[in-house]
């Protein structure tokens, strides 16, 4: 609204010298025409992009999800209603992939928030080498997940360095990625390791926004460091926590594909589907079996899942604190 009122004000203010009015009006009219031309010319390509590559494909996915649609068969794609959804929920592997995705998110996001906050708090305490440590903790975040996944496979192999060290210390060697019980936690560990740096930066920014006067007031009241953390720092970091949790969840769902494909023993969520995530499941359906109908239905479920989770996080994590 501001823009419009400014140009009108300019017209209004300068009307008194009556003779000049037509000239001014002509000038602004020409300017307005130029502005509209500029706006619509510039928006043309973006509109085509957002409609053609984002909006229509989204609607198309909903449509495919209600059809029997296999790329390998040339037959028609009949409308089958909710059949695909029923098939999915009867599939144990799909249920497993949803449960796993929840485990990835709950443990992974919590882990990265906790470690990110701890590192930020430690960095906030020290005066020297802050920049140095910040760089080190951030390096994993910029590196390729694929490369890192293979490095972790190598380190955690049956005869890899970690097991060598364990054996030297007199401890039993661990199967890690070969074990259906351990693999998922190893992958979560790698995900957390890679995202600590990002969370650390967000928390550092959040910590800097907390005024020192609050801590001074707490000191006068004789608060212990523990009390200061829970009564001052933690509540004031609340917006950061909500933001980090939402961003972390969305990236984790995507990352879970790359990490699982490159870290799991068979490259598709093994051993025994113990590490399969929803996105890996969708990928298998769509690009191994070419069952686009079933796969689309699964992406719709994923979409609703993310939507629900985001709303839930915003509701639960956002609390009002009074001062």
């Amino acid at each position: 609204m501001e823009q419009h009122s400014v140009s009108q004000e300019n017209q209004g203010k300068k009307t008194p010298p009556i003779q000049k009015k037509p000239v001014k009006q002509k000038f602004w009219k020409k300017l307005n025409f130029q502005k509209y031309l500029f706006v619509y010319v510039c928006l043309l390509l973006p509109l085509i992009f957002y409609l053609g590559i984002r909006i229509l494909p989204t609607l198309f996915t909903f449509n495919v999800g209600f059809r029997e649609w296999n790329l390998l068969s040339t037959e028609a794609q009949p409308f089958v209603g909710f059949d695909n959804y029923v098939t999915l929920f009867k599939d144990e592997v799909f249920i497993k992939s949803i449960v796993n995705t929840l485990i990835y998110i709950v443990l992974g996001v919590t882990g990265q928030l906790v470690f990110g906050m701890v590192v930020a708090l430690l960095l906030h305490k020290i005066n020297r080498f802050v920049g140095f440590f910040r760089v080190i903790y951030f390096i994993p975040y910029v590196t390729s997940i694929v490369a890192i996944s293979w490095v972790f496979q190598w380190i955690l192999m049956g005869n890899g360095i970690i097991n060598d060290v364990l054996v030297k210390l007199g401890l039993p060697a661990q199967p890690f990625l070969n074990s259906p019980d351990q693999a998922i936690y190893v992958i979560i560990g790698a995900m957390i390791w890679q995202s600590i740096g990002f969370q650390m930066i967000l928390f550092l920014a959040g910590l800097e926004n907390i005024p020192d006067s609050l801590y001074e007031a707490a000191d006068i009241d004789g608060a212990s460091p523990w009390q200061k953390f829970w009564r001052v720092t933690f509540p004031l970091l609340n917006p950061t926590i909500v933001f980090s949790a939402v961003i972390g969840t969305i990236t984790f769902i995507q990352v879970s594909f790359t990490q699982v494909v490159n870290m799991s023993m068979d490259g598709s969520g093994g051993p025994l589907n113990s590490t399969i995530s929803v996105v890996v499941y969708i990928y298998q359906l769509a690009f191994r079996q070419f069952d686009m109908g079933l796969a689309s239905a699964a992406t719709v479920i994923l979409f609703l899942f993310i939507l629900g989770l985001t709303i839930f996080q915003m509701k639960v994590l956002t609390k009002k604190f009074d001062y």
Partner: protein
């Protein structure tokens, strides 16, 4: 008292070891001959560059590196141009359909990429785009997030500044490039860095979009290489990983101030 002061340093140092060890071990293995890779020496006893020579001669790593660079650079330029322009228009112009267009773009933020890979795949095979750079590029040419971000920064530019330029007879494109863009430069560079990084490291879509080995990007190439031709040859896999990781780490160390400032800037907005 002294110990309490030192404790944070010690903990951070311990964490740093955990953060850096995988990289150290990766580089170390890449410099070892095949018979030495199971030794526990961090500094190889007989360091060799044979693995690098072998990879550069016998596999397509150099090509994949160039592919990644092309894809990431073109995408970044496109995102910076269009997102900044659209953000500017939505923030600074009043026109019919403005709110509608803004919500249309915002709504795309709610849809995860995973939901779009199926229609994109069908689209690019239908239109014959499979196995071209364009197939990897097209979904990322503009982003809803960038538009949203740039709109917020553009809103802070005073209207008077733009109107003054109009009265001076500047055309709208010149106003955008010469007046608006310099005002939001920090936000643009942050957006640029993150767009480049996420495209450089992208895996899911390039994996689907490309069939021929020559057109793979670095992450896709490395993944196929490690599970295929170099299976269990860990000295070669670690060499490939080093090639894809070390350049980006060096660039990061050079640009770290901007990157860290960028997260704070874009994250906290």
């Amino acid at each position: 008292m002294k110990i309490r002061k030192l404790l944070p340093y010690l903990l951070l140092l311990l964490g740093s070891v955990i953060m850096l060890f995988p990289f150290v071990w990766m580089v170390s293995t890449s410099l070892k001959a095949p018979i030495d890779i199971f030794s526990l020496d961090i500094i190889p006893s007989n360091p060799t560059l044979d693995n690098y020579l072998k990879i550069l001669e016998e596999s397509l790593f150099l090509r994949w590196f160039i592919n990644s660079l092309i894809v990431a650079v073109i995408t970044t330029i496109s995102v910076l141009f269009f997102d900044t322009l659209v953000g500017y228009i939505i923030a600074k112009f009043r026109f019919i359909g403005r709110t509608f267009i803004f919500f249309l773009i915002l709504s795309t933020l709610m849809v995860p990429t995973e939901m779009l890979i199926i229609p994109w795949f069908m689209m690019s095979s239908e239109l014959g785009w499979t196995d071209t750079y364009w197939a990897i590029l097209f979904p990322g040419l503009m982003t809803g997030f960038g538009v949203f971000l740039m709109r917020q920064f553009m809103e802070q530019i005073p209207d008077d500044l733009l109107n003054a330029a109009r009265i001076d007879g500047m055309n709208e494109f010149a106003i955008f490039f010469k007046i608006a863009v310099p005002q939001v430069w920090p936000a643009i560079s942050a957006l640029g860095i993150f767009t480049f990084l996420s495209n450089w490291n992208a895996f899911l879509w390039p994996l689907i979009a490309i069939e021929s080995p020559e057109l793979r990007t670095l992450p896709v190439g490395l993944s196929f290489f490690s599970s295929g031709e170099a299976e269990s040859q860990w000295h070669l896999i670690m060499t490939g990983a080093t090639i894809s990781v070390v350049p980006i780490i060096l660039v990061f160390i050079l640009l770290q101030r901007h990157i860290i400032k960028g997260i704070t800037l874009t994250g906290m907005k």
